[in-house]
Symmetry: C2
Subunit: 374 residues, 2 copies
């Protein structure tokens, strides 16, 4: 058996591979006979990687053949999907859950219902839907999946928000709500505050009456960045070098010591979060941008009673609590629709996928979150 | 006002200073008048530090004058009290709770009831008692305290066990029972397995049907130490250098991955505990013998879902859960009395306090736990 036919066999069983990848698939006699008697999706253009490796080397946009729709299937014309760091890691093969290749990139996004299987009752053509829980390749123009995976949303928000609401804003919301019980007036501290999750935490905290201490990298435009975060609702913003003082808590003024901290950087920046935490405080690690580990004295554990843990959305999605996913998403979309919740993104036509990918990889300098527009 | 009279004033309000420290105290006219009309304790010999600093420099044994006993007081003739590392740290002034000086050393111990105030109903002369919860200077020959602080225990165990049951065995029991719910067949991993807490963990785990993986320092008598721990009930014992392998879990064989780890060392030894832990496992830090911090990758928090926390007995003693303290102590004493629970100690007459202190400080080579016998 050739490698090609092995890959083909694998594809048939792959849940995220909604459209057949290789033209040979549709040309097999059995499939073509059934194709004539069933509704077919349009052909789809998809960003596909056939092996793990450097994303700009292994990913290419190809045309996928139409697929047959079953009676419970919904064909969705994708409108927008972001390139998240975790999408990059999945392609690189360094993510703990390694997608089986060949695979289509992307994990979240928004689309418009294009056509319906005969048994679909809960969706109509033209509805906006997001895959919820997210689970499959969203970097393609048409996706065919069962009705149950699609969550209908209101159309009163920009598509780039609908496309990105699951990974970053939901992470921020869950970390604020699920780890430590916070009350109005409580304080949180975070590093990487300019990241989208960081910006979401500032705004969600503010809505809940929770104050935020924010740590940012030292950079040329410090004052502008601080001002931007303050406008989002940040109570305090410090650069890392500003926190090279004997006792960071002297900076708190009237602010209570934070009960909860968030770390997406590691290294010294994580230590700064820990220094702010109150006795018995918790630090949640959800990223490691500096690629440096977290270092903690044994006495911080024993006498300061610190608790360190992590948060990973994909694990949460497989937990009991994930049944609330759509309710939480609707809450976040509601905030966006009321103008209470925002973050910056860079929209890129899918035709420029290669450029968007390079920007997301950082090989073209610093850029905002790349959102593919189909 | 002289410094001397300031120290005297402080003494009067100090709860652990059960016997007046300075002869001048009893010589003041008011006190001596009342003394004639009340029961007096015998004079006491006590190991006292008048300032924080190196224990062998600042601690000396002095004679304390008799004190007047109130109607609810019990005078206890101490039988035995250990020198624990935390006692050393309290004298050094590096403990988070800094005793007000002058102070008498010691935090746990056992004694025999010597005399009773007129209103005492629950204790009789000759009873064995331990201060529970522990809270004051036990390095002295006679202690006068209210009946309520004394917990009567059975006399069927060696005094050195009664004297040491609170700090180390109770720490081991609480860390096994209170952090993660373990079931029979589960596995724990610990470093510093030869410490008394380590030995207690092995034995308490075995009693509960929990298996233990034990990490010890590399040393000359490795095989003898391993054999000793195995006799206590250790399932696996490894030296740190034995664990310098690519995947420590290959060593587990049929043993399930541990859900809970204990760290009293820090540094690389803590990392070895973390390497053994299963997905979602917890590591409890209760000591830092290497004086090195704990270092953890951000991905261990995010993708391996590790939780790191600490345990400090003194904090537990001030928690709601501490109401169970005496029940737990009785459970441990029962195990000792049945011969199911043991650890090695070195008994030293209180007259040789200075030598015992130096041995505890490690300035006279390696020695076992020093227990003062009065």
């Amino acid at each position: 058996m050739s490698t090609g036919s092995k890959a083909l066999k694998a594809l048939r069983g792959q849940s995220w591979f909604c459209n057949g990848l290789l033209p040979v698939f549709i040309r097999s006699p059995t499939v073509s006979i059934r194709a004539f008697s069933a509704t077919m999706s349009p052909p789809s253009k998809a960003a596909v990687y056939e092996q793990h490796g450097p994303p700009d080397k292994v990913t290419r946009v190809i045309e996928l053949s139409p697929v047959e729709m079953k009676e419970n299937d919904v064909c969705v014309k994708m409108l927008a999907a972001p390139i998240n760091p975790s999408d990059i890691n999945r392609i690189e093969g360094v993510y703990p859950v390694r997608p089986q290749v060949p695979a289509i990139g992307g994990y979240e996004g928004v689309g418009e219902v294009h056509s319906l299987g005969s048994a679909v009752r809960g969706l109509s053509i033209g509805d906006w839907v997001i895959p919820s829980p997210p689970s499959f390749g969203t970097w393609q123009t048409y996706i065919v999946k069962e009705e149950s995976v699609w969550h209908k949303i209101n159309k009163d928000i920009p598509i780039e928000y609908a496309a990105t609401v699951t990974v970053n804003p939901l992470t921020a919301l869950l970390m604020l709500e699920d780890v430590v019980k916070l009350n109005s007036g409580d304080v949180i501290v975070q590093n990487g505050a300019t990241s989208i999750v960081g910006q979401c935490i500032i705004q969600l905290a503010r809505i809940r009456g929770i104050q935020s201490i924010n740590i940012i990298r030292d950079r040329a435009d410090t004052e502008a960045v601080k001002e931007k975060l303050r406008k989002l609702g940040a109570d305090k913003v410090y650069t890392e070098s500003q926190l090279e003082v004997k006792n960071v808590k002297d900076l708190l003024g009237d602010l209570p010591e934070p009960a909860l901290g968030f770390n997406c950087v590691g290294g010294n920046s994580a230590s700064l979060v820990l220094k702010f935490l109150r006795q018995g405080g918790t630090m949640v690690t959800y990223g490691g941008m500096s690629k440096k580990p977290v270092t903690v004295s044994t006495s911080s554990f024993i006498f300061k009673d610190l608790v360190l843990r992590g948060f990973w959305l994909q694990k949460w999605m497989s937990s009991e609590r994930a049944k609330d996913c759509r309710v939480l998403i609707d809450y976040l979309l509601g905030l966006i629709s009321k103008g209470k919740f925002k973050y910056e993104m860079e929209l890129v036509p899918f035709d420029n996928f290669d450029v968007a990918l390079c920007k997301a990889l950082g090989t073209l300098g610093r850029h905002g979150k790349q959102v593919l527009i189909f």
